[in-house]
Amino acid sequence: MLVFRPPTLGSMTVTAPAPFSEVTRSESSLRTFLHGLPGVDAVGADARAAMLGTRSIKTTSKAWALDLAIRMVDLTTLEGQDTPAKVRALAAKARRPDPADPGCPSVAALCVYPDMVPAAVAALAGSGVHVASVATAFPSGRASTAVKLADVRDAVAGGADEIDMVIDRGAFLSGRYAQVHDEIVATRAACGSAHLKVILETGELGTYDNVRRASWLAMLAGADFVKTSTGKVSPASTLPVTLVMLEACRDFRDATGRQVGMKSAGGIRTSKDAIKYLVLVNETAGDDWLDPAWFRFGASSLLNDLLMQRQTMASGQYSGPDYVTLD
Protein backbone atom coordinates (compact mmCIF):
# COMPACT_ATOMS: atom_id res chain seq x y z
CA MET A 1 0.00 0.00 0.00
CA LEU A 2 1.14 3.48 -0.82
CA VAL A 3 0.33 5.85 2.00
CA PHE A 4 0.79 9.50 1.35
CA ARG A 5 0.78 12.62 3.44
CA PRO A 6 -2.71 13.89 4.23
CA PRO A 7 -3.52 17.05 2.30
CA THR A 8 -3.51 19.95 4.75
CA LEU A 9 -7.15 20.75 4.34
CA GLY A 10 -8.45 17.21 4.19
CA SER A 11 -10.12 15.55 7.10
CA MET A 12 -8.60 12.13 6.64
CA THR A 13 -5.55 10.35 5.41
CA VAL A 14 -5.65 9.25 1.81
CA THR A 15 -4.75 5.68 1.12
CA ALA A 16 -4.48 5.31 -2.58
CA PRO A 17 -4.79 1.98 -4.31
CA ALA A 18 -1.35 1.12 -5.56
CA PRO A 19 0.02 1.23 -8.10
CA PHE A 20 -1.62 4.14 -9.98
CA SER A 21 -1.83 2.05 -13.10
CA GLU A 22 -4.59 0.17 -11.29
CA VAL A 23 -6.40 3.47 -10.67
CA THR A 24 -6.51 4.37 -14.32
CA ARG A 25 -7.45 0.89 -15.47
CA SER A 26 -11.18 1.51 -15.67
CA GLU A 27 -13.87 4.13 -15.36
CA SER A 28 -15.02 2.72 -12.04
CA SER A 29 -11.55 2.48 -10.47
CA LEU A 30 -10.86 6.05 -11.55
CA ARG A 31 -14.10 7.23 -10.03
CA THR A 32 -13.43 5.31 -6.82
CA PHE A 33 -10.04 6.92 -6.51
CA LEU A 34 -11.07 10.48 -7.37
CA HIS A 35 -14.10 10.38 -5.11
CA GLY A 36 -11.93 8.82 -2.41
CA LEU A 37 -9.76 11.95 -2.30
CA PRO A 38 -10.47 13.88 0.89
CA GLY A 39 -12.87 16.77 0.53
CA VAL A 40 -11.48 20.28 0.53
CA ASP A 41 -12.33 22.42 3.53
CA ALA A 42 -13.55 25.37 1.44
CA VAL A 43 -13.71 27.83 4.32
CA GLY A 44 -10.24 26.78 5.43
CA ALA A 45 -8.84 27.12 1.91
CA ASP A 46 -10.29 30.61 1.52
CA ALA A 47 -9.03 31.65 4.94
CA ARG A 48 -5.53 30.28 4.41
CA ALA A 49 -5.21 31.91 0.98
CA ALA A 50 -6.43 35.22 2.43
CA MET A 51 -4.02 34.94 5.36
CA LEU A 52 -1.05 34.25 3.11
CA GLY A 53 -2.09 37.23 1.00
CA THR A 54 -1.34 39.56 3.90
CA ARG A 55 2.38 38.78 3.99
CA SER A 56 4.43 41.92 3.55
CA ILE A 57 7.22 41.58 0.98
CA LYS A 58 9.46 44.65 0.85
CA THR A 59 12.77 46.09 -0.41
CA THR A 60 15.27 43.47 -1.59
CA SER A 61 12.77 40.63 -1.21
CA LYS A 62 10.30 42.57 -3.33
CA ALA A 63 12.93 43.27 -5.98
CA TRP A 64 13.76 39.56 -6.08
CA ALA A 65 10.08 38.61 -6.25
CA LEU A 66 9.41 41.06 -9.09
CA ASP A 67 12.26 39.67 -11.18
CA LEU A 68 11.17 36.10 -10.45
CA ALA A 69 7.58 36.96 -11.40
CA ILE A 70 8.77 38.46 -14.70
CA ARG A 71 10.73 35.27 -15.43
CA MET A 72 7.57 33.24 -14.72
CA VAL A 73 5.28 35.17 -17.05
CA ASP A 74 3.76 33.40 -20.05
CA LEU A 75 3.13 36.54 -22.06
CA THR A 76 -0.19 35.84 -23.67
CA THR A 77 -2.17 37.10 -26.62
CA LEU A 78 -5.28 35.07 -27.40
CA GLU A 79 -7.51 37.40 -29.35
CA GLY A 80 -9.42 36.91 -32.55
CA GLN A 81 -7.71 40.03 -33.88
CA ASP A 82 -4.16 38.66 -33.42
CA THR A 83 -1.82 39.05 -36.38
CA PRO A 84 1.75 37.84 -37.02
CA ALA A 85 2.85 41.47 -36.58
CA LYS A 86 1.33 41.68 -33.13
CA VAL A 87 2.95 38.38 -32.20
CA ARG A 88 6.34 39.73 -33.38
CA ALA A 89 5.87 42.89 -31.33
CA LEU A 90 5.01 40.86 -28.27
CA ALA A 91 7.97 38.57 -28.93
CA ALA A 92 10.27 41.57 -28.81
CA LYS A 93 8.74 42.47 -25.47
CA ALA A 94 9.14 38.89 -24.24
CA ARG A 95 12.86 38.97 -25.03
CA ARG A 96 13.50 42.34 -23.43
CA PRO A 97 10.52 43.44 -21.35
CA ASP A 98 12.20 46.72 -20.36
CA PRO A 99 14.43 47.91 -23.22
CA ALA A 100 15.80 50.68 -21.02
CA ASP A 101 17.17 48.21 -18.49
CA PRO A 102 19.49 45.40 -19.67
CA GLY A 103 19.21 43.84 -16.20
CA CYS A 104 15.54 43.06 -16.71
CA PRO A 105 15.06 39.30 -17.29
CA SER A 106 13.14 37.77 -20.20
CA VAL A 107 9.77 36.18 -19.64
CA ALA A 108 9.32 32.40 -19.66
CA ALA A 109 7.24 31.97 -22.76
CA LEU A 110 5.02 33.58 -25.34
CA CYS A 111 1.55 32.02 -25.47
CA VAL A 112 -0.38 32.22 -28.75
CA TYR A 113 -2.97 30.43 -30.89
CA PRO A 114 -1.64 27.54 -33.04
CA ASP A 115 -1.67 29.46 -36.33
CA MET A 116 0.57 32.13 -34.77
CA VAL A 117 3.18 29.59 -33.62
CA PRO A 118 5.46 29.86 -36.70
CA ALA A 119 5.56 33.67 -36.35
CA ALA A 120 6.38 33.36 -32.64
CA VAL A 121 9.06 30.71 -33.23
CA ALA A 122 10.74 32.86 -35.87
CA ALA A 123 10.67 35.94 -33.68
CA LEU A 124 12.01 34.17 -30.59
CA ALA A 125 14.73 32.05 -32.21
CA GLY A 126 17.83 31.88 -30.02
CA SER A 127 16.30 33.88 -27.18
CA GLY A 128 15.60 31.00 -24.80
CA VAL A 129 12.00 32.21 -24.50
CA HIS A 130 9.66 29.28 -25.12
CA VAL A 131 6.71 29.30 -27.47
CA ALA A 132 3.51 28.03 -25.89
CA SER A 133 0.41 27.35 -27.92
CA VAL A 134 -3.12 26.73 -26.78
CA ALA A 135 -4.72 23.85 -28.60
CA THR A 136 -7.55 21.28 -28.45
CA ALA A 137 -10.26 23.71 -29.60
CA PHE A 138 -9.34 26.31 -27.00
CA PRO A 139 -11.09 27.76 -25.04
CA SER A 140 -14.27 25.65 -25.01
CA GLY A 141 -12.77 22.33 -26.06
CA ARG A 142 -15.98 21.53 -27.87
CA ALA A 143 -14.68 19.53 -30.81
CA SER A 144 -14.16 15.86 -31.59
CA THR A 145 -11.01 14.23 -30.25
CA ALA A 146 -9.68 13.86 -33.79
CA VAL A 147 -9.99 17.58 -34.40
CA LYS A 148 -8.36 18.40 -31.03
CA LEU A 149 -5.43 16.13 -31.73
CA ALA A 150 -4.99 17.61 -35.19
CA ASP A 151 -4.92 21.03 -33.52
CA VAL A 152 -2.14 19.84 -31.20
CA ARG A 153 -0.08 18.25 -34.00
CA ASP A 154 -0.42 21.46 -36.00
CA ALA A 155 0.99 23.52 -33.14
CA VAL A 156 3.80 21.05 -32.44
CA ALA A 157 4.70 20.91 -36.12
CA GLY A 158 4.91 24.70 -36.08
CA GLY A 159 7.57 24.46 -33.40
CA ALA A 160 5.69 25.01 -30.14
CA ASP A 161 7.66 24.05 -27.02
CA GLU A 162 4.61 23.90 -24.80
CA ILE A 163 1.00 22.97 -25.45
CA ASP A 164 -1.85 24.32 -23.31
CA MET A 165 -4.82 21.96 -23.70
CA VAL A 166 -8.29 22.31 -22.21
CA ILE A 167 -10.05 19.37 -20.61
CA ASP A 168 -13.56 18.41 -21.64
CA ARG A 169 -15.40 20.03 -18.74
CA GLY A 170 -18.72 18.66 -19.91
CA ALA A 171 -17.41 15.10 -19.68
CA PHE A 172 -15.70 15.79 -16.34
CA LEU A 173 -18.81 17.28 -14.75
CA SER A 174 -20.89 14.37 -16.09
CA GLY A 175 -18.52 12.00 -14.33
CA ARG A 176 -17.02 10.51 -17.50
CA TYR A 177 -13.54 10.63 -16.00
CA ALA A 178 -12.07 7.94 -18.25
CA GLN A 179 -12.97 9.97 -21.33
CA VAL A 180 -11.18 13.02 -19.93
CA HIS A 181 -8.24 10.86 -18.89
CA ASP A 182 -7.87 9.16 -22.25
CA GLU A 183 -8.06 12.46 -24.07
CA ILE A 184 -5.23 13.87 -21.98
CA VAL A 185 -3.17 10.70 -22.59
CA ALA A 186 -3.77 10.99 -26.34
CA THR A 187 -2.86 14.67 -26.30
CA ARG A 188 0.26 13.91 -24.29
CA ALA A 189 1.28 11.41 -26.97
CA ALA A 190 0.58 13.94 -29.74
CA CYS A 191 2.79 16.51 -28.00
CA GLY A 192 5.94 14.49 -28.53
CA SER A 193 8.74 16.34 -26.79
CA ALA A 194 6.62 19.43 -26.13
CA HIS A 195 5.48 20.07 -22.57
CA LEU A 196 1.79 19.60 -21.89
CA LYS A 197 -0.16 22.02 -19.69
CA VAL A 198 -3.65 20.89 -18.83
CA ILE A 199 -6.20 23.67 -18.31
CA LEU A 200 -8.87 22.66 -15.81
CA GLU A 201 -10.98 25.83 -16.28
CA THR A 202 -11.69 25.94 -12.56
CA GLY A 203 -14.31 28.65 -13.03
CA GLU A 204 -16.55 26.00 -14.60
CA LEU A 205 -15.81 23.19 -12.16
CA GLY A 206 -17.93 24.65 -9.40
CA THR A 207 -16.30 23.24 -6.27
CA TYR A 208 -12.82 22.92 -4.78
CA ASP A 209 -13.43 19.16 -4.54
CA ASN A 210 -13.79 19.07 -8.33
CA VAL A 211 -10.63 21.14 -8.68
CA ARG A 212 -8.72 18.62 -6.58
CA ARG A 213 -10.13 15.68 -8.54
CA ALA A 214 -9.41 17.30 -11.90
CA SER A 215 -5.84 18.11 -10.81
CA TRP A 216 -5.21 14.50 -9.84
CA LEU A 217 -6.87 13.23 -13.00
CA ALA A 218 -4.65 15.45 -15.16
CA MET A 219 -1.48 14.46 -13.31
CA LEU A 220 -2.35 10.74 -13.45
CA ALA A 221 -2.82 11.13 -17.20
CA GLY A 222 0.65 12.57 -17.65
CA ALA A 223 0.30 16.35 -17.50
CA ASP A 224 3.57 18.29 -17.14
CA PHE A 225 1.69 21.29 -15.80
CA VAL A 226 -1.78 21.84 -14.42
CA LYS A 227 -3.25 25.23 -15.23
CA THR A 228 -6.21 27.00 -13.67
CA SER A 229 -8.02 28.74 -16.46
CA THR A 230 -8.26 29.80 -20.05
CA GLY A 231 -8.74 33.43 -19.05
CA LYS A 232 -11.96 33.46 -21.09
CA VAL A 233 -14.24 32.44 -18.21
CA SER A 234 -14.90 34.37 -15.01
CA PRO A 235 -13.88 33.63 -12.30
CA ALA A 236 -10.45 32.77 -13.66
CA SER A 237 -7.51 32.06 -11.36
CA THR A 238 -8.04 32.74 -7.67
CA LEU A 239 -5.71 32.25 -4.72
CA PRO A 240 -7.75 29.45 -3.06
CA VAL A 241 -8.05 27.49 -6.31
CA THR A 242 -4.30 27.80 -6.81
CA LEU A 243 -3.82 26.63 -3.22
CA VAL A 244 -5.88 23.49 -3.83
CA MET A 245 -4.01 22.72 -7.05
CA LEU A 246 -0.61 23.32 -5.47
CA GLU A 247 -1.51 20.89 -2.69
CA ALA A 248 -2.40 18.34 -5.32
CA CYS A 249 0.98 18.90 -7.03
CA ARG A 250 2.79 18.50 -3.74
CA ASP A 251 0.87 15.36 -2.75
CA PHE A 252 1.34 13.87 -6.21
CA ARG A 253 5.11 14.29 -5.99
CA ASP A 254 5.13 12.78 -2.51
CA ALA A 255 3.22 9.78 -3.83
CA THR A 256 4.93 9.22 -7.15
CA GLY A 257 8.20 11.14 -7.12
CA ARG A 258 7.18 13.03 -10.25
CA GLN A 259 7.01 16.82 -9.98
CA VAL A 260 4.25 18.56 -11.91
CA GLY A 261 4.27 22.30 -12.59
CA MET A 262 1.51 24.77 -11.94
CA LYS A 263 0.26 27.71 -13.98
CA SER A 264 -2.17 30.33 -12.73
CA ALA A 265 -3.82 32.22 -15.55
CA GLY A 266 -6.42 34.92 -15.86
CA GLY A 267 -7.25 37.84 -13.62
CA ILE A 268 -3.73 38.37 -12.25
CA ARG A 269 -3.06 41.99 -13.16
CA THR A 270 -0.96 43.61 -10.44
CA SER A 271 2.46 43.01 -8.93
CA LYS A 272 0.81 42.77 -5.55
CA ASP A 273 -1.35 39.87 -6.77
CA ALA A 274 1.67 38.15 -8.32
CA ILE A 275 3.63 38.37 -5.09
CA LYS A 276 0.69 36.88 -3.20
CA TYR A 277 0.84 33.91 -5.57
CA LEU A 278 4.58 33.52 -5.00
CA VAL A 279 4.02 33.46 -1.23
CA LEU A 280 1.30 30.86 -1.75
CA VAL A 281 3.59 28.69 -3.88
CA ASN A 282 6.38 28.85 -1.33
CA GLU A 283 4.12 28.06 1.61
CA THR A 284 2.06 25.34 -0.08
CA ALA A 285 4.19 23.39 -2.54
CA GLY A 286 7.57 24.61 -1.33
CA ASP A 287 10.46 26.48 -2.88
CA ASP A 288 11.12 23.67 -5.38
CA TRP A 289 8.24 25.23 -7.30
CA LEU A 290 9.60 28.80 -7.09
CA ASP A 291 11.15 28.52 -10.51
CA PRO A 292 9.94 29.33 -14.02
CA ALA A 293 10.27 25.62 -14.85
CA TRP A 294 7.60 24.79 -12.26
CA PHE A 295 5.37 27.81 -11.80
CA ARG A 296 4.01 30.22 -14.39
CA PHE A 297 1.70 33.19 -14.63
CA GLY A 298 -0.54 33.31 -17.70
CA ALA A 299 -0.96 37.02 -18.16
CA SER A 300 -0.80 39.96 -20.50
CA SER A 301 -1.32 43.16 -18.48
CA LEU A 302 0.55 41.79 -15.44
CA LEU A 303 3.91 42.25 -17.14
CA ASN A 304 3.42 46.01 -17.51
CA ASP A 305 2.58 46.37 -13.84
CA LEU A 306 5.63 44.33 -12.87
CA LEU A 307 7.78 46.59 -15.05
CA MET A 308 6.26 49.74 -13.55
CA GLN A 309 6.91 48.45 -10.04
CA ARG A 310 10.45 47.60 -11.05
CA GLN A 311 10.99 51.12 -12.38
CA THR A 312 9.45 52.58 -9.24
CA MET A 313 11.82 50.60 -7.05
CA ALA A 314 14.80 51.72 -9.13
CA SER A 315 13.93 55.42 -9.32
CA GLY A 316 11.98 56.00 -6.11
CA GLN A 317 9.28 57.71 -8.17
CA TYR A 318 5.92 56.21 -9.04
CA SER A 319 5.92 55.19 -12.67
CA GLY A 320 3.01 55.34 -15.06
CA PRO A 321 1.55 53.57 -18.08
CA ASP A 322 3.23 56.12 -20.38
CA TYR A 323 6.52 54.35 -19.65
CA VAL A 324 5.59 50.84 -20.80
CA THR A 325 4.37 49.58 -24.15
CA LEU A 326 0.73 49.38 -25.15
CA ASP A 327 0.13 45.79 -26.22
Binding site: G316, Q317, Y318, S319, G320, P321, D322, Y323
Partner: protein, 288 residues
Amino acid sequence: MSDRLGVRKTYKLYLGGTFPRSESGRSYSVSGASGEFLANAALGSRKDVRDAVVAARAAFGGWSGATAYNRGQVLYRVAELLEGRRDQFAAEVATSEGLSAAEALRVVDAAVDRWVWYAGWTDKIAQVHGGANPVAGPYLNISTPEPTGVVGVVAPRESSLLGLVSVVAPAVATGNTTVVLASETRPLPAVTLAEVLATSDVPGGVINLITGRVAETAPRLASHRDVNAIDLTGAPADLATALEVAAADNLKRVLRRPPSEPDWTADPGLGRLTAYLETKTVWHPIGV
Protein backbone atom coordinates in the same frame (compact mmCIF):
# COMPACT_ATOMS: atom_id res chain seq x y z
CA MET B 1 -30.40 69.21 29.17
CA SER B 2 -30.42 66.09 27.07
CA ASP B 3 -28.19 63.11 27.90
CA ARG B 4 -27.89 62.25 24.26
CA LEU B 5 -24.38 61.60 22.94
CA GLY B 6 -23.65 63.44 19.74
CA VAL B 7 -22.82 61.36 16.66
CA ARG B 8 -19.51 62.74 15.45
CA LYS B 9 -18.44 62.64 11.84
CA THR B 10 -15.32 60.71 10.85
CA TYR B 11 -13.37 62.87 8.42
CA LYS B 12 -11.90 60.57 5.79
CA LEU B 13 -10.18 60.72 2.44
CA TYR B 14 -12.08 60.78 -0.85
CA LEU B 15 -10.53 58.37 -3.38
CA GLY B 16 -12.20 57.06 -6.52
CA GLY B 17 -15.67 58.00 -5.29
CA THR B 18 -15.33 56.26 -1.94
CA PHE B 19 -14.40 57.45 1.53
CA PRO B 20 -11.57 55.27 2.84
CA ARG B 21 -9.49 55.97 5.91
CA SER B 22 -5.84 56.48 5.14
CA GLU B 23 -4.12 53.28 4.02
CA SER B 24 -1.64 54.00 6.81
CA GLY B 25 -4.39 54.01 9.45
CA ARG B 26 -3.11 57.32 10.78
CA SER B 27 -5.03 60.44 11.71
CA TYR B 28 -4.17 63.87 13.09
CA SER B 29 -6.07 66.38 15.15
CA VAL B 30 -7.38 69.52 13.52
CA SER B 31 -7.75 72.70 15.54
CA GLY B 32 -9.90 75.75 14.95
CA ALA B 33 -8.61 79.27 14.45
CA SER B 34 -8.54 79.88 18.19
CA GLY B 35 -6.79 76.61 18.97
CA GLU B 36 -9.78 74.56 20.08
CA PHE B 37 -10.03 70.90 19.00
CA LEU B 38 -12.33 70.43 16.02
CA ALA B 39 -11.93 66.88 14.77
CA ASN B 40 -9.50 64.12 13.83
CA ALA B 41 -8.81 64.00 10.11
CA ALA B 42 -7.16 61.21 8.13
CA LEU B 43 -3.40 61.61 7.79
CA GLY B 44 -2.89 60.59 4.17
CA SER B 45 0.24 58.71 3.08
CA ARG B 46 2.32 58.34 -0.06
CA LYS B 47 0.39 55.19 -0.91
CA ASP B 48 -2.86 57.12 -0.68
CA VAL B 49 -1.37 59.49 -3.25
CA ARG B 50 -0.55 56.55 -5.48
CA ASP B 51 -4.06 55.13 -5.16
CA ALA B 52 -5.54 58.55 -5.87
CA VAL B 53 -3.51 58.90 -9.07
CA VAL B 54 -4.66 55.47 -10.21
CA ALA B 55 -8.28 56.49 -9.58
CA ALA B 56 -7.80 59.82 -11.36
CA ARG B 57 -6.18 58.17 -14.36
CA ALA B 58 -9.00 55.63 -14.58
CA ALA B 59 -11.59 58.41 -14.49
CA PHE B 60 -9.83 60.56 -17.09
CA GLY B 61 -11.16 58.79 -20.20
CA GLY B 62 -14.79 59.12 -19.25
CA TRP B 63 -14.59 62.68 -17.88
CA SER B 64 -12.49 64.13 -20.70
CA GLY B 65 -14.59 62.26 -23.25
CA ALA B 66 -17.88 63.63 -21.90
CA THR B 67 -19.25 66.53 -23.90
CA ALA B 68 -18.38 69.98 -22.57
CA TYR B 69 -22.08 70.68 -22.21
CA ASN B 70 -22.52 67.58 -20.06
CA ARG B 71 -19.57 68.52 -17.84
CA GLY B 72 -21.14 71.93 -17.34
CA GLN B 73 -24.42 70.36 -16.29
CA VAL B 74 -22.69 68.01 -13.87
CA LEU B 75 -20.66 70.83 -12.31
CA TYR B 76 -23.71 73.07 -12.03
CA ARG B 77 -25.40 70.28 -10.11
CA VAL B 78 -22.50 70.39 -7.63
CA ALA B 79 -23.21 74.08 -7.07
CA GLU B 80 -26.85 73.26 -6.36
CA LEU B 81 -25.79 70.80 -3.67
CA LEU B 82 -23.23 73.22 -2.25
CA GLU B 83 -26.01 75.74 -1.85
CA GLY B 84 -28.09 73.14 0.00
CA ARG B 85 -25.32 72.69 2.58
CA ARG B 86 -24.74 76.43 2.93
CA ASP B 87 -25.14 76.52 6.69
CA GLN B 88 -22.90 73.50 7.30
CA PHE B 89 -20.13 74.99 5.16
CA ALA B 90 -20.52 78.37 6.84
CA ALA B 91 -20.14 76.81 10.28
CA GLU B 92 -17.03 74.86 9.22
CA VAL B 93 -15.45 77.83 7.47
CA ALA B 94 -16.17 80.04 10.50
CA THR B 95 -14.47 77.68 12.96
CA SER B 96 -11.61 76.80 10.60
CA GLU B 97 -10.76 80.32 9.50
CA GLY B 98 -11.90 82.27 12.55
CA LEU B 99 -14.53 84.27 10.69
CA SER B 100 -17.79 85.64 11.99
CA ALA B 101 -20.97 83.89 10.91
CA ALA B 102 -21.81 86.65 8.44
CA GLU B 103 -18.31 86.69 6.95
CA ALA B 104 -18.33 82.90 6.63
CA LEU B 105 -21.65 82.98 4.80
CA ARG B 106 -20.25 85.52 2.37
CA VAL B 107 -17.28 83.20 1.72
CA VAL B 108 -19.58 80.22 1.10
CA ASP B 109 -21.75 82.23 -1.27
CA ALA B 110 -18.67 83.38 -3.14
CA ALA B 111 -17.51 79.74 -3.38
CA VAL B 112 -20.86 78.61 -4.81
CA ASP B 113 -20.83 81.49 -7.29
CA ARG B 114 -17.25 80.66 -8.27
CA TRP B 115 -18.26 77.05 -8.93
CA VAL B 116 -21.19 78.16 -11.10
CA TRP B 117 -18.91 80.56 -12.97
CA TYR B 118 -16.46 77.78 -13.85
CA ALA B 119 -19.34 75.39 -14.69
CA GLY B 120 -20.43 77.91 -17.29
CA TRP B 121 -17.02 77.97 -18.89
CA THR B 122 -16.90 74.26 -19.81
CA ASP B 123 -18.46 74.71 -23.26
CA LYS B 124 -17.12 78.21 -23.89
CA ILE B 125 -13.41 77.81 -23.30
CA ALA B 126 -12.89 76.17 -26.69
CA GLN B 127 -14.35 79.21 -28.42
CA VAL B 128 -12.18 81.63 -26.47
CA HIS B 129 -8.99 79.59 -26.36
CA GLY B 130 -9.23 77.78 -29.70
CA GLY B 131 -10.31 78.84 -33.15
CA ALA B 132 -9.70 78.74 -36.87
CA ASN B 133 -6.19 79.67 -37.95
CA PRO B 134 -5.51 81.51 -41.21
CA VAL B 135 -2.93 79.45 -43.10
CA ALA B 136 -1.19 79.94 -46.45
CA GLY B 137 -2.52 76.86 -48.19
CA PRO B 138 -5.68 75.06 -49.17
CA TYR B 139 -6.41 73.87 -45.66
CA LEU B 140 -9.00 74.44 -43.02
CA ASN B 141 -6.88 74.78 -39.90
CA ILE B 142 -8.48 74.56 -36.46
CA SER B 143 -6.99 74.58 -32.97
CA THR B 144 -8.93 73.17 -30.06
CA PRO B 145 -7.94 72.95 -26.41
CA GLU B 146 -7.79 69.49 -24.84
CA PRO B 147 -7.37 68.56 -21.18
CA THR B 148 -3.81 67.67 -20.23
CA GLY B 149 -4.65 64.69 -18.01
CA VAL B 150 -4.27 64.12 -14.29
CA VAL B 151 -3.65 67.34 -12.37
CA GLY B 152 -2.17 67.39 -8.88
CA VAL B 153 -3.43 70.30 -6.82
CA VAL B 154 -1.81 71.53 -3.63
CA ALA B 155 -4.78 73.50 -2.31
CA PRO B 156 -4.40 76.90 -0.65
CA ARG B 157 -3.53 76.77 3.03
CA GLU B 158 -5.51 79.76 4.22
CA SER B 159 -8.76 79.80 2.25
CA SER B 160 -10.25 76.41 3.03
CA LEU B 161 -13.35 76.58 0.83
CA LEU B 162 -13.29 79.55 -1.56
CA GLY B 163 -9.60 78.99 -2.30
CA LEU B 164 -10.15 75.25 -2.71
CA VAL B 165 -13.05 75.72 -5.11
CA SER B 166 -11.07 78.33 -7.03
CA VAL B 167 -8.26 75.88 -7.78
CA VAL B 168 -10.22 72.64 -8.26
CA ALA B 169 -13.16 73.80 -10.38
CA PRO B 170 -11.08 75.21 -13.26
CA ALA B 171 -9.02 72.02 -13.51
CA VAL B 172 -12.04 69.73 -13.80
CA ALA B 173 -14.11 72.14 -15.90
CA THR B 174 -11.79 71.63 -18.86
CA GLY B 175 -11.91 67.83 -18.53
CA ASN B 176 -8.90 67.07 -16.35
CA THR B 177 -9.11 64.79 -13.34
CA THR B 178 -7.49 65.82 -10.08
CA VAL B 179 -5.70 64.67 -6.98
CA VAL B 180 -6.14 67.42 -4.39
CA LEU B 181 -4.02 67.81 -1.26
CA ALA B 182 -6.32 69.72 1.08
CA SER B 183 -5.14 72.51 3.38
CA GLU B 184 -3.12 70.84 6.11
CA THR B 185 -4.44 72.94 8.98
CA ARG B 186 -7.95 73.56 7.65
CA PRO B 187 -9.08 70.35 5.90
CA LEU B 188 -12.65 70.02 7.20
CA PRO B 189 -14.51 72.08 4.55
CA ALA B 190 -12.64 70.07 1.90
CA VAL B 191 -13.93 66.78 3.30
CA THR B 192 -17.46 68.16 3.36
CA LEU B 193 -16.99 69.30 -0.24
CA ALA B 194 -16.04 65.69 -1.04
CA GLU B 195 -19.36 64.57 0.47
CA VAL B 196 -21.11 66.98 -1.87
CA LEU B 197 -19.17 65.58 -4.82
CA ALA B 198 -20.00 62.00 -3.83
CA THR B 199 -23.73 62.76 -3.90
CA SER B 200 -23.55 64.76 -7.12
CA ASP B 201 -23.12 63.36 -10.63
CA VAL B 202 -19.36 63.88 -10.77
CA PRO B 203 -17.94 60.42 -11.56
CA GLY B 204 -15.80 58.83 -8.87
CA GLY B 205 -12.10 59.52 -9.41
CA VAL B 206 -12.54 62.89 -11.15
CA ILE B 207 -11.77 64.71 -7.90
CA ASN B 208 -9.76 62.82 -5.28
CA LEU B 209 -9.04 64.47 -1.97
CA ILE B 210 -6.27 63.70 0.49
CA THR B 211 -5.89 65.33 3.88
CA GLY B 212 -2.68 65.25 5.88
CA ARG B 213 0.86 66.61 5.85
CA VAL B 214 1.58 68.33 2.55
CA ALA B 215 5.33 68.05 3.12
CA GLU B 216 4.89 64.26 3.12
CA THR B 217 2.46 63.81 0.22
CA ALA B 218 3.33 66.64 -2.18
CA PRO B 219 6.80 65.35 -3.17
CA ARG B 220 5.31 62.02 -4.26
CA LEU B 221 2.64 63.80 -6.25
CA ALA B 222 5.19 66.10 -7.87
CA SER B 223 7.51 63.26 -8.88
CA HIS B 224 4.74 60.85 -9.94
CA ARG B 225 5.21 60.06 -13.60
CA ASP B 226 1.54 59.49 -14.27
CA VAL B 227 0.59 63.03 -13.20
CA ASN B 228 0.57 65.54 -16.05
CA ALA B 229 0.39 68.86 -14.24
CA ILE B 230 0.74 70.23 -10.74
CA ASP B 231 -0.60 73.36 -9.10
CA LEU B 232 1.69 74.48 -6.28
CA THR B 233 -0.56 77.29 -5.01
CA GLY B 234 -0.67 75.96 -1.46
CA ALA B 235 2.85 74.51 -1.30
CA PRO B 236 4.96 75.51 1.69
CA ALA B 237 7.52 78.18 0.72
CA ASP B 238 10.50 76.02 1.68
CA LEU B 239 9.25 73.12 -0.45
CA ALA B 240 8.19 74.93 -3.61
CA THR B 241 11.56 74.77 -5.39
CA ALA B 242 12.07 71.08 -4.64
CA LEU B 243 8.57 70.31 -5.91
CA GLU B 244 9.23 72.18 -9.16
CA VAL B 245 12.46 70.23 -9.64
CA ALA B 246 10.67 66.92 -9.01
CA ALA B 247 7.88 67.90 -11.41
CA ALA B 248 10.39 68.79 -14.13
CA ASP B 249 11.52 65.16 -14.34
CA ASN B 250 8.60 64.15 -16.53
CA LEU B 251 7.88 67.60 -17.92
CA LYS B 252 4.74 68.29 -15.92
CA ARG B 253 2.95 71.53 -16.43
CA VAL B 254 3.62 73.51 -13.28
CA LEU B 255 1.52 76.33 -11.92
CA ARG B 256 4.03 78.07 -9.69
CA ARG B 257 3.47 79.02 -6.10
CA PRO B 258 2.49 82.70 -5.79
CA PRO B 259 4.58 84.78 -3.33
CA SER B 260 1.58 85.09 -1.07
CA GLU B 261 -1.89 83.60 -1.12
CA PRO B 262 -4.00 85.40 -3.75
CA ASP B 263 -7.14 87.38 -2.94
CA TRP B 264 -9.70 84.72 -3.82
CA THR B 265 -12.57 87.19 -3.93
CA ALA B 266 -11.03 88.96 -6.92
CA ASP B 267 -12.02 88.15 -10.52
CA PRO B 268 -10.05 84.94 -11.21
CA GLY B 269 -9.66 85.48 -14.95
CA LEU B 270 -9.07 82.55 -17.31
CA GLY B 271 -5.52 81.73 -16.20
CA ARG B 272 -6.46 78.68 -14.20
CA LEU B 273 -8.72 77.32 -16.94
CA THR B 274 -6.02 77.56 -19.58
CA ALA B 275 -3.19 76.30 -17.35
CA TYR B 276 -4.04 72.63 -17.90
CA LEU B 277 -4.85 72.58 -21.60
CA GLU B 278 -3.00 71.20 -24.56
CA THR B 279 -3.70 72.62 -28.00
CA LYS B 280 -4.65 70.21 -30.74
CA THR B 281 -4.40 71.60 -34.25
CA VAL B 282 -6.06 69.90 -37.19
CA TRP B 283 -5.14 70.56 -40.82
CA HIS B 284 -7.98 69.59 -43.10
CA PRO B 285 -7.55 69.80 -46.89
CA ILE B 286 -10.19 71.80 -48.70
CA GLY B 287 -11.03 71.79 -52.41
CA VAL B 288 -8.89 73.98 -54.64
